[in-house]
C-alpha cells in the first residue's frame, strides 16, 4: 500500500543550501566574538604534572578546569568525562584547556608555546589481555551485560554441527562535511549556545550541569547542521560546556570551531568490535542455538557505549529464528578517543558477524548458504533475541526473491565461477538485516517521554515545535508534510524553524531512526487534535506526549520483552570485480529492497538509501582508521579516505511496504537501516570472487594479496 504522502515535494531547505545562504555555525558572526582553540593531550595516558603557559596578551584567556562553575563532568549516562582534564589525561586529543582571544593566528602561536609536562602511565590500547590498571571500575568495562533466551544446553545436546568464528570490524569516522562547532554567548545571566548539533536537550542538560545554573538560564539553538550521522549526538555537549565557561570568563561571545584534523583525532567514531559466535545446528540444518560474545572498544570514557552494546547484542542473531541464545557483551575502556554513535549504532558490527558466520557455517557443512539462511529466517509471530514478539508481517522471503531477480544473482554466481577459472575475479554477495526503530529497551517510555507542541496563530499558520533537527535527512520537509496532510492544509502554511530550547518542548534527540516514526506520529496526533478544535483566525495550541503502545512490554533488568516497537528490514546485493594483480575492487552494481513501512517522501527516502549504502561501502572497503600506540594513523582528510563519485555505481532500489500501525501514515524508521547491509554484501562478494572466507572489516586489498600469496585463510 502506498499513500499519496509518498509523492515527493521539493525540499524546503534546498534553495538556501544551494545558494550558500544557509547559515552554518561557522557562518555566524556575533558582535565582539572571540575565537577559541583547544590545548589537547599529547599522551594516551599520563598524569598532568605541570602546564606552563606563555604570557598572554591583553584580551586573551586560558580556560580550564578551574573555570567550570558547576560539575566538571559531561552529563551523560555515566558522568565520567571531564570538560577539561583534571589530574590525568586518558587519550591523545583529550581537551586540557582553551586559549581564547580575538586573533586566530595569535591563539595558534600561544598554543605552540605552551609546555605541558606529563608523567606517563601504562596505557590500555587493545581490548584483549589487559594488564594495565583499569581506566574505569574494577574490570575496565563501562558495561558488561548478558542475555539468555531458552536453554543453550538443549541446543548443545541436540547439535549435529557446531561452528565457531571470530569477526572483527574497525573504526569508522562519520566525516560529516561540516566539522563540529558551537558559539556561546553570555548575556544578562543567561547562556545561549548556537551549534551544529543533533540533540538540543542533551546539550542543554550538559551545560546546566557544567555551569550549575538554573535550566531557564541556558538556551540552546541549532544552527544549520552540515551532516552528523551520530557524530553530533554526544560530542557537542562537551564543546558547548567548554564554550559556555569561556564566554562567561571572557564576557564576550566565544566561537569554538574544530578544524577537520582536530575533529578526526578527537571526536567520537564507530566502535571497533570483536565478536565471537558459536552456532549449534541440527541434522536438518536448523540452528538450535547461538552463543555470542561481543567486545566493543569504547575508548577512554563511557559516552553512550552501553546503549550501543545493547543494540549490538539484540542484533546478534541477525534475521534468524534461534530459540536458544546466550549473549555476552562488554564495552571495554581503552586509552583512545571515545567511541560513540554512528548510523547503525552497534548493529553494523553485529550483522556483519552473524551474516558472515551463517555463510561460513553453511560452507563448512557443505550446503548452499542462501538456502541455509532462508530456511532459518524469522517470521511473524516468532520471538526476537529478547523474547519479544515480532508482531508485524516480515517480508524477507519476497524481498530476497526480488533482489535475486533484480541483480541476476543466481546466473551471476554461475557465470562468475566460469570466468574465475580463466582469471577474472568477479563476485556477488547478498545480505539480510533489520533495524529496530526508536530507542532501545525502555528509552522512549521511561527516559525520553517525547513531547511535541503545535501552535496556530491568528493568521492560521501552524508552527511545529519539536527539538528534532534538520541535519540533511529532510526532517523539515517530512514533518511539514505529515502536519499538512493531517490537517489538510497547504505545505506553506506550516512553519518549522531550527529548534530553540526556549521555544520547543523536549521531543528527544535526533537519533535512533526515531524522528519520523516516534516524533512524526506525535506531530500527526497533535495535528489531528488541532484540526478538531480549529477556529479560523483564533490562536490555539496543542501538545502530545509519547505513550507506550498497549500490548508491548519490556523489562530492563533482564533485557526481556520488546526491545523495539517496530522493525525495518533490508536485503542488499553487491557485485564486485577485483584487479587480479592489486586486488583493488571495483563495485559493479548494488541492488536493494527495503521495507520501511509507508514512505513519507520517496525522494527523501532514496536520499537516505543511497547515502547509507555509500557510507556502508566505504566502511567495508576503503575507510581505514588504525590506532597505533594511542594515536590514529589516519588523522587528516588526506589519510582517511571516503568514497568519491568515481567509486560508486548505479544503485537500484525498490521498496516493499509493511506499514507500522503506530507510525505516521504507517511509516517506520529508515536512516540507519540503509548502512547496515551493504558492507556485508560487499564482503560476501569479495569472498565469492576469491573463494575465501572473510571475517574482518574493512576488507583491504593488501590483506587479500597476502591471502592469495600464501594460500591460507583470510
Amino acid at each position: 500500500m502506498r499513500d499519496s504522502i509518498s509523492k515527493p515535494i521539493t525540499r524546503v531547505d534546498a534553495a538556501d543550501k544551494l545558494s550558500g545562504a544557509a547559515c552554518y555555525i561557522g557562518d555566524m558572526r556575533l558582535e565582539d566574538m572571540l575565537y577559541a582553540k583547544t590545548l589537547r593531550a599529547a599522551e594516551p595516558r599520563a598524569k598532568l604534572i605541570s602546564i606552563e603557559y606563555p604570557e598572554l596578551p591583553e584580551g586573551y584567556f586560558v580556560v580550564d578546569k578551574r573555570d567550570v562553575p558547576g560539575e566538571n563532568r559531561v552529563k551523560m549516562l555515566i558522568d565520567d568525562q571531564p570538560f577539561f582534564a583534571e589530574e590525568v589525561v586518558n587519550y591523545i586529543g583529550e581537551p586540557i584547556a582553551l586559549i581564547v582571544g580575538k586573533d586566530k593566528e595569535v591563539i595558534n602561536k600561544l598554543l605552540e608555546d605552551i609546555k605541558v609536562e606529563y608523567e606517563r602511565l601504562q596505557p590500555i590500547l587493545c581490548i584483549d589481555n589487559i594488564t594495565a590498571p583499569p581506566i574505569y571500575g574494577e574490570n575496565d568495562s563501562f558495561a558488561d551485560y548478558s542475555l539468555n533466551k531458552g536453554d543453550l544446553q538443549k541446543a548443545r545436546a541436540g547439535a549435529a554441527y557446531v561452528y565457531e568464528g571470530i569477526y572483527e570490524t574497525g573504526y569508522q569516522e562519520q566525516f560529516y562535511m561540516e566539522p563540529q562547532g558551537v558559539i556561546a554567548e553570555f548575556k544578562e545571566g543567561k547562556v545561549s549556545i548556537y551549534g551544529s548539533i543533533q540533540c538540543p536537550y542533551y546539550v542543554k542538560n550538559a551545560v546546566v550541569s557544567c555551569l550549575g545554573s538554573a535550566p531557564e538560564d541556558v538556551r540552546i539553538v541549532q544552527a544549520a547542521t552540515g551532516g552528523a550521522f551520530g557524530g553530533k549526538e554526544d560530542y557537542p555537549s562537551l564543546l558547548a560546556g567548554q564554550a559556555a565557561c569561556a564566554a562567561i570568563k571572557a564576557g564576550k561571545p566565544v566561537c569554538l570551531l574544530l578544524d577537520r584534523n582536530e575533529d578526526l583525532e578527537a571526536t567520537t567514531k564507530r566502535h571497533p568490535a570483536k565478536i565471537t559466535l558459536k552456532s549449534y545446528i541440527d541434522e536438518s540444518c536448523r540452528i538450535l542455538g547461538l552463543e555470542a560474545d561481543i567486545a566493543l572498544d569504547a575508548g577512554a570514557y563511557a559516552g553512550i557505549s552501553g546503549v550501543v552494546l545493547q543494540r549490538a547484542m539484540f542484533a546478534a542473531a541477525g534475521v534468524y529464528n534461534i530459540e536458544n541464545l546466550s549473549i555476552r557483551g562488554k564495552a571495554i575502556a581503552t586509552n583512545k578517543a571515545v567511541s560513540g554513535a554512528f548510523r547503525g549504532f552497534g548493529s553494523p558490527q553485529a550483522f556483519f558477524a552473524i551474516e558472515m558466520h551463517m555463510e561460513h557455517a553453511a560452507k563448512a557443512i557443505g550446503i548452499d548458504p542462501l538456502q541455509y539462511k532462508l530456511s532459518n529466517l524469522v517470521k511473524q509471530g516468532d520471538r526476537s533475541t529478547t523474547n519479544g514478539i515480532l508482531r508485524d508481517k516480515i517480508l524477507l522471503p519476497e524481498m530476497v526473491d526480488r533482489v535475486l531477480e533484480m541483480s541476476g544473482f543466481t546466473e551471476k554466481r554461475k557465470s562468475f565461477k566460469t570466468e574465475r577459472a580463466v582469471g577474472a575475479l568477479k563476485g556477488i554477495g547478498l545480505s539480510m538485516f533489520f533495524h529496530g526503530c526508536g530507542f532501545t529497551g525502555n528509552g522512549e517510555q521511561d527516559h525520553i517521554k517525547a513531547k511535541v507542541r503545535l501552535t496556530k496563530d491568528i493568521h492560521d499558520r501552524v508552527e511545529i515545535l519539536i527539538a528534532n533537527v534538520e541535519m540533511g535527512q529532510g526532517v523539515q520537509t517530512t514533518m511539514r508534510k505529515i502536519a499538512a496532510a493531517a490537517m489538510e492544509l497547504p505545505i506553506d502554511s506550516i512553519i518549522f524553524a531550527n529548534p530553540d530550547t526556549d521555544r520547543v518542548p523536549d521531543s528527544g534527540p535526533t537519533v535512533a531512526s526515531r524522528t519520523t516514526v516516534i516524533v512524526g506520529k506525535l506531530v500527526y496526533d497533535a495535528a489531528l487534535k488541532l484540526k478538531e478544535k480549529w477556529q479560523a483566525g483564533a490562536a490555539s495550541e496543542v501538545e502530545e506526549q509519547y505513550k507506550y503502545p498497549q500490548g508491548f512490554e519490556w523489562d530492563n533488568d533482564s533485557f526481556s520483552g520488546d526491545a523495539y516497537t517496530n522493525y525495518s528490514w533490508g536485503v542488499n546485493a553487491v557485485e564486485v570485480e577485483l584487479d587480479p594483480i592489486t586486488y583493488e575492487s571495483t563495485i559493479k552494481g548494488v541492488w536493494t529492497v527495503f521495507d520501511i513501512g509507508n514512505p513519507i517522501d520517496d525522494r527523501l527516502v532514496r536520499g537516505q538509501i543511497d547515502g547509507g549504502i555509500v557510507q556502508g561501502l566505504g566502511y567495508a572497503s576503503m575507510e581505514v582508521m588504525e590506532n597505533l600506540q594511542g594515536r590514529f594513523r589516519q588523522r587528516t582528510s588526506t589519510d582517511y579516505i571516503i568514497p568519491t563519485a568515481m567509486d560508486i555505481p548505479e544503485i537500484k532500489s525498490e521498496l516493499m511496504c509493511e506499514p507500522f500501525k503506530y507510525g505516521p501514515y504507517g511509516a517506520k524508521g529508515l536512516g540507519e537501516l540503509t548502512l547496515v547491509g551493504a558492507p556485508i554484501a560487499y564482503a560476501l562478494a569479495v569472498e565469492n570472487a576469491l573463494s575465501i572466507n572473510i571475517d574482518t572489516l574493512p576488507v583491504r586489498p593488501e590483506h587479500l594479496m597476502e591471502v592469495a600469496a600464501d594460500g591460507n585463510g583470510y
Binding site: P8, T10, R11, D13, A14, A15, D16, K17, L18, S19, G20, A21, A22, C23, Y24, G26, D27, Q174, F175, Y176, M177, E178, P179, A224, T225, G226, G227, A228, F229, D259, R260, N261, M471, G472, Q473, G474, R603, L604, R606, G607, D610, G611, G612, I613, V614, Q615, T636, S637, T638, I642, P643, T644, A645, M646, I648, E650, I651
Partner: protein, 158 residues
C-alpha cells in the same frame, strides 16, 4: 611582508593589504563576507571551498591570495543570480541532490566549471568532474543525475 593585492570578486574590485600567503578562503569568508564558500577540510581534499579563478575550478583553502592578483574570482554568491544557476538549482532540487547542504555550493561551482568546458558531458565525465568534491550524505548518484539533467534542460546556456 604584507602587500597590496587587488582582484575582482563576483564582478566587484577588492583591494587587500595583507599577507600574500593568506588563504583565498579566509579573504572571501572573513574579508568579503562570502560565507557560501565553506571550509570542510582546510587541505584541498573535500572541495567545499571550490570557487572559480579566471574560470578555473580551485580549492580556495589552499590557494594563497597572492595568486589571485589581477584575476577574477567567482563564488556561489556571484553565480547564484544567473540563468545557469537557476537551471542547476532546479535540477538539484528535482534529483534530490541536496541533503545537509554543506558541499552544495562547492558542488555547484564544480558543475558550472564542467559545463563551461563540456556542455554535454556523459555520466563518467560528470563523475570525474565532481570527484574532487566530497559529499557524505547523498552517495553522489543524485548529484550526477542533476548535472546531466541540467546539461539537457540548459542546452544552449553553456
Amino acid at each position: 611582508m604584507a602587500m597590496d593585492i587587488s582582484f575582482v570578486v563576483n564582478g566587484k574590485r577588492v583591494n587587500i593589504y595583507g599577507n600574500p600567503t593568506a588563504r583565498l578562503l579566509d579573504a572571501l569568508r572573513d574579508y568579503c563576507g562570502l560565507t557560501g564558500v565553506k571550509e570542510g577540510c582546510g587541505e584541498g581534499e573535500c572541495g567545499a571551498c571550490s570557487v572559480l579563478v579566471d574560470g578555473k575550478l580551485v580549492n580556495s583553502c589552499i590557494y594563497p591570495i597572492a595568486k589571485v592578483e589581477g584575476k577574477e574570482v567567482l563564488t556561489i554568491e556571484g553565480f547564484r543570480g544567473t540563468e545557469k544557476y537557476e537551471v542547476l538549482k532546479e535540477s538539484f532540487e528535482a534529483a534530490g541532490a541536496v541533503q545537509c547542504g554543506f558541499c552544495s555550493p562547492g558542488m555547484l561551482m564544480a558543475a558550472e566549471s564542467l559545463l563551461r568546458e563540456n556542455p554535454k558531458p556523459d555520466e563518467v565525465q560528470v563523475r570525474e568532474a565532481i570527484s574532487g568534491n566530497l559529499c557524505r550524505c547523498t552517495g553522489y548518484n543524485t548529484i550526477v543525475e542533476a548535472v546531466l539533467d541540467a546539461s539537457i534542460r540548459g542546452e544552449g546556456l553553456w
